[in-house]
């Protein structure tokens, strides 16, 4: 905004203000109604949902699955989807800091005089994209199960193999159905059975080709169960 645009804005604003109503009681009426609504919602929430106490803090646990409060789900999901260790500081410190600085300095780089949302498409679209991204991350964070569960239904004879796959950390790199690392280090295993024969699957799990570690430690019986289960996925 240059000096003339600033002056024009102030001039326009002064007229709008003259044409408007006084804060008390007209604007404050709306404020009060809104406050009443908020108070009502708050009271309803605390009556209906109460305040349940979780189990006591236990630093010695090895079975608890920590999850944050819902308003940090987007950050939680961000940390979950950024897999390469080299990028961890970027996810923990880098992205949040950059976002906050960009937000803080918004009025200093967006200095155009236009205020109508549909006449400044870049700002509006960026804003909507940010909201969508945060909503999506929050949703994905909310539904993320622990990486030791597979929701995909399977026939009872493969149930044992499925349990071993789930408990062995395969989902840290691979995806099976809705679970696991989509776009992670390893290929998606959801339809692996239709792509590779059973013997090749067992071979891969046993020796661990490329960056994949060997799962020889499972023992022959469990390896067979795993191979049977994975071969059944198609």
């Amino acid at each position: 905004m240059n000096a003339r645009e600033k002056e024009e804005y102030l001039r326009e604003y002064e007229i709008l203000k003259k044409k408007g109503k006084s804060f008390f009681p007209y604007a404050i009426m709306k404020d009060s109604v809104m406050m009443l609504v908020v108070a009502g919602v708050l009271i309803a929430m605390s009556i209906i949902m109460g305040a349940e106490q979780g189990p006591k803090a236990d630093p010695t646990t090895t079975t608890y699955v920590p999850r944050p409060e819902w308003y940090f789900f987007y950050l939680f999901e961000l940390l979950r989807v950024i897999k390469p260790p080299a990028l961890v500081p970027v996810a923990t410190i880098g992205i949040p800091t950059i976002c906050m600085v960009l937000l803080l300095l918004l009025p200093f780089y967006d200095r155009g005089p236009e205020r109508i949302p549909w006449k400044r498409p870049i700002a509006t679209i960026t804003g909507i994209m940010v909201i969508i991204a945060m909503a999506l991350l929050t949703y994905k964070g909310a539904v993320a199960g622990p990486p030791t569960e597979i929701d995909l239904p399977t026939a009872p004879q493969y149930e044992k193999g499925k349990q071993i796959v789930a408990q062995s950390g395969c989902l840290a790199c691979h995806a099976i159905g809705e679970n696991g690392a989509h776009g992670g280090l390893g290929p998606d295993l959801t339809e692996i059975g239709s792509k590779i024969p059973r013997e090749a699957i067992k071979q891969s799990v046993t020796i661990g080709p490329g960056i994949m570690p060997s799962f020889k430690g499972l023992g022959n019986e469990d390896l067979n169960a795993v191979a049977d289960y994975l071969a059944s996925l198609d």
């Binding site: 000096a3 604003y13 002064e14 709008l16 408007g20």
Partner: protein, 352 residues
């Protein structure tokens, strides 16, 4: 005390009067304030129990209050503009419930959980009050985001309200800090591990991160004083900062006014030439703008702009030759009024 309601009514009446710009023969605001003060002093000497008048004659509180309350919100102000006050309301609720929760809470790693159990299950309405605080936190985050979205999409962070946006973002950050520090206090599994993760996120910042994490935890690991440190942050430091910044936020809202929805156009107020009326108002309200508005600056810096303005003004004059004389006689009145209004507002702020 009995004076207050009638004064409120008076303020209300003033407000509606100000709405009609063409109202001519009425006392200016300064005169009215003087009258009110006289009246108050008079009553005070007669009855001897007029506390409001006594206080007012020393603080001018009513003047400030009236100026705040009878200030105009621009045309088109709608429900979206209630989100800010709703956020402030929920902060007040959090402060109140928080103070009362602290009456039962023990910030110690060994007793915190038990004190929450006691508070929730045995204290009268304990679960309800804790519920208010717990869900109030969620509502506050939602409302602050909605308020920010409104500000963003309406372009309300632009000139002259840049500073208020910055304060608002700092308030958003402080609110999430409140969420994070408040999280640990119930000392259940979720709070403990969330705090561990949050602390390690802090620690992963190169160079200063490890020391910052040590500072938050009061040591290299979760220790006896970690909980009391978070408690102090949650109870004193951050709420104090939030309260102060809300004060600054509101100061700017009153000083600069709330925005109108950007699609609302001004048009012309009846019976006055807006340029003069506004120029007077602007000159007093914003001293920086005087230099900018000054013909010298404009002429020197931007000759084409000046030409444009001149052309526009010439057009205006040409378009209404008949109104010319009328405008000239009528114009000084509103201009004066605007100046007086602005200066009385200025007075209120200076006194505060």
């Amino acid at each position: 005390m009995k004076l207050l309601p009638s004064r409120k009514k008076k303020a209300e009446a003033d407000g509606s009067e100000n709405g009609e710009v063409e109202a001519v023969a009425k006392p200016t605001r300064g005169e009215r304030a003087a009258q009110a003060k006289q009246l108050a002093t008079h009553h005070g000497t007669q009855s001897g129990i007029d506390v409001a008048g006594w206080v007012d004659s020393r603080t001018n509180a009513t003047g400030i209050f009236t100026a705040m309350m009878s200030r105009h919100v621009p045309k088109g102000t709608n429900w979206f503009y209630t989100l800010g006050s709703a956020t402030m309301f929920i902060f007040a609720m959090q402060a109140i419930t928080g103070v009362f929760l602290s009456m039962y809470y023990t910030p110690s790693a060994t007793q915190a959980y038990a004190s929450i159990t006691h508070l929730t299950n045995e204290v009268f309405m304990g679960e309800f009050v804790r519920g208010l605080h717990k869900w109030g936190a969620s509502l506050m985050i939602i409302l602050i985001f909605l308020h920010m979205a409104r500000t963003f999409f309406f372009g309300a962070y632009k000139y002259p309200r840049e500073l208020n946006w910055v304060i608002g973002v700092v308030l958003l950050i402080l609110t999430t800090v409140m969420g994070l520090t408040g999280y640990l206090l119930p000392f259940d599994q979720r709070s403990f591990w969330a705090t561990i993760v949050a602390n390690n996120i802090t620690a992963s910042g190169p160079v200063v991160g490890p020391y910052l994490a040590d500072f938050l935890r009061a040591g290299p690991d979760f220790s006896a004083t970690t909980l009391s440190r978070f408690y102090a942050l949650h109870m004193m430091v951050v709420p104090g900062l939030i309260g102060a910044l809300i004060g600054a936020h509101l100061f700017f809202v009153v000083k600069l006014g709330t925005t109108a929805p950007p699609w609302v156009r001004a048009g012309r107020p009846k019976g006055s030439r807006p340029t003069e009326a506004v120029a007077a108002g602007v000159a007093v309200e914003d001293l920086d703008e005087v230099a900018v508005n000054g013909a010298v600056t404009v002429a020197d810096a931007e000759p084409p702009a000046e030409a444009e303005v001149d052309a526009a003004e010439a057009e205006e004059v040409e378009a209404k030759p008949a109104e010319e004389t009328e405008a000239e006689t009528a114009a000084p009145e509103p201009a004066e009024e605007a100046a007086e209004e602005a200066s009385s507002e200025e007075d209120g702020e200076v006194n505060s």
